[in-house]
């Protein structure tokens, strides 16, 4: 006699217990600390902060530990946590011109005021696995210190804008949209698009940016400037009425310079693609700036032909928390709907077979 399967609660409990075991792994191996993740996997932490849309290095590192290293799962944890946090208000816009620079490069000029500051970068390393890293506790050589700090570093795009060669951004009076509070609606203005891209999946942005370079909406990009460093965060408490510095965060900014052909009404100028990211994320900031520029195609009078230029396509599919939820939801039971499909198909086939039999007679 068939008895409906029960025991869902118990099964879930056991699954969670096993999950916790696999998260810890072999107990003979020393436990990974949140501090170790924060210090020695800083780029993973940066990515989780960016996609989790929340700047908190400790929480991001904790999420990575809990998520067994799955960075999308970790970003999900951070986003869900962010939902519970009270919102005091918005900070003043970050002034990246005053960034305490770690790294600053430009591909458009050989040399420029402030110089090309390489910073701690993988760019010129040879990708050879370093087996010496497998041995722990070895003292490593420390980096030599420079004689003086980085000098005045005006923006490359500012230099171009002064000559009239680069579009300036027009300041907007209205409050920027807020994707953490309001749903995305179309047509989406640039403020909302940039927010969406800033927390979009790095792989997705990378692929889209790459596609533009390969001809799917090409915009002839040059890296005007990449800046990595720390900026002060200022907030104006209502009781004080003036801004105070509440701390500083690490960010990466990319300004991409693109060709613009001019139109019947506008003289030719370079146009901008912009990328801004929590932490040290050049790949993301650069990809973001390529996609930002692609999404401006319509505004700049260009034909919209490529996926990276299609705002609904890009902005609806960039959020990997939404994406992974929906893709993985297919694992949930769908047998009720499937049953309807089965019965429907059986009925259609019965009708068709009856018709064939009739025709044969």
């Amino acid at each position: 006699m068939y008895v409906a399967v029960k025991g869902g609660e118990r099964a879930i409990g056991a699954a969670h217990a096993w999950l916790e075991e696999t998260r810890r792994g072999d107990p003979a191996v020393p436990e990974l600390s949140v501090a170790q993740i924060g210090q020695q996997m800083p780029l993973a932490v940066d990515r989780v902060m960016a996609e989790g849309s929340c700047h908190d290095r400790f929480l991001a590192a904790l999420a990575i530990k809990q998520a067994k290293g799955d960075l999308i799962e970790a970003a999900f944890l951070l986003r869900a946590y962010r939902t519970t946090l009270p919102r005091f208000g918005a900070s003043e816009p970050l002034d990246t011109a005053l960034m305490r620079l770690r790294r600053r490069i430009s591909a458009t000029y050989k040399d420029l005021p402030g110089g090309q500051v390489l910073g701690p970068t993988f760019d010129y390393t040879h990708r050879l696995l370093d087996f010496a890293l497998a041995a722990e506790g070895e003292p490593r050589a420390s980096a030599p210190e420079a004689a003086s700090a980085v000098g005045v570093t005006p923006r490359v795009t500012e230099l171009l804008a002064r000559e009239g060669l680069m579009q300036r951004e027009t300041p907007v009076e209205a409050e920027p949209g807020d994707l953490t509070r309001q749903p995305l609606a179309f047509p989406a203005a640039r403020d909302v698009r940039l927010q969406n891209l800033a927390r979009g999946d790095e792989g997705f942005l990378l692929a889209l940016g790459y596609s533009t370079q390969r001809g799917y909406g090409h915009a002839h990009p040059f890296v005007g400037e990449i800046r990595v460093g720390h900026v002060a965060v200022e907030f104006t408490p209502p009781e004080l009425g003036f801004p105070i510095e509440i701390g500083e965060i690490g960010i990466t900014e990319c300004q991409m310079v693109n060709q613009f052909k001019g139109s019947r009404t506008e003289p030719a100028q370079f146009t901008r693609g912009y990328g801004l990211v929590f932490g040290h994320g050049e790949r993301r900031a650069m990809a973001m700036s390529l996609v930002d520029r692609a999404l401006r195609a319509q505004e700049l009078g260009e034909d919209v032909t490529a996926p990276a230029q299609d705002a609904e396509f890009v902005l609806y599919h960039s959020d990997n928390i939404e994406a992974t939820g929906f893709v993985e939801h297919l694992k949930l039971p769908h047998y009720v709907d499937f049953q309807s499909e089965l019965e429907n198909l059986r009925a259609i086939r019965r009708t068709a077979e009856a018709a064939l039999r009739e025709a044969a007679e």
Binding site: Y2, A4, G8, L184, Q339
Partner: protein, 286 residues
Amino acid sequence: MSTMDGYNFAYLDEATKRMIRRAILKAVAIPGHQIPFGAREMPLPYGWGTGGIQVTASILGPADTLKVIDQGADDTTNAVSIRRFFTRVAGVETTARTGEASIIQTRHRIPEKPLREDQIIVYQVPQPEPLFMLEPRRAEAKRLHALADYGLMHVRLYEDIARLGHIAKAYDYPVMVNARYLMSPSPIPAFDNPKMHRMAALQLFGAGREKRIYAIPPHTEVHSLDFEDHPFRPIRAPHACALCRSTDTYLDEVITDDAGGRMFVCSDTDFCAERQARAAPQEAAE
């Protein structure tokens, strides 16, 4: 009743609940129309019921009794998970008995037992836009709804009949609400659509990932799209439930062996259990 430390009752803060309730009120005022809302990330993934959870969290009070079902059953893994979530963050009474619940959150089914005016049913919706396969661009779909321009959906049904002899939609079958808005009822089987028509309970629909809420107020007209000469027909497996003998409930097909053996049982486990309990004393008497 105890809830998790540091979390507000039912997880969401009061400002967020207020925002969601405002969206719900707008939705109730315009039956079948999708209201965008600022959905929050929840501790369950998008696509796994976050919309339904946010709606439930916003209307839940300490005196409520909550029932959560998935595929019609209380014991499926996702129903268990969501019920536990609300137990942890709200500490409310939960039940498997449809008749005893004040709020029922459901995925993919409407309970067989007719609901009352003092009950609310909250549907989990993956894709709120009934036109999305025909018109993937949201901006254009919005215009079609505003102009009540639904020719495209009827064309789809026409094509089914021309090609297959009848309409091929077996679940998430589109409905017209209050003779004005085309609505997706969520992926309930077409069999359940008639239950929505003039239902005494308030029906709320939450789509978390797509960030839309919509509603059908009690006693509202809800009609499944069809043609006069091809009327809507609800589909169910043409069998009786092997456990309670019912011939008018929606059935699950259960494969019992690998030689093609199968049996059919009610998908609504509570309803089936109730029917079996009623039949038992009679059988004992026989």
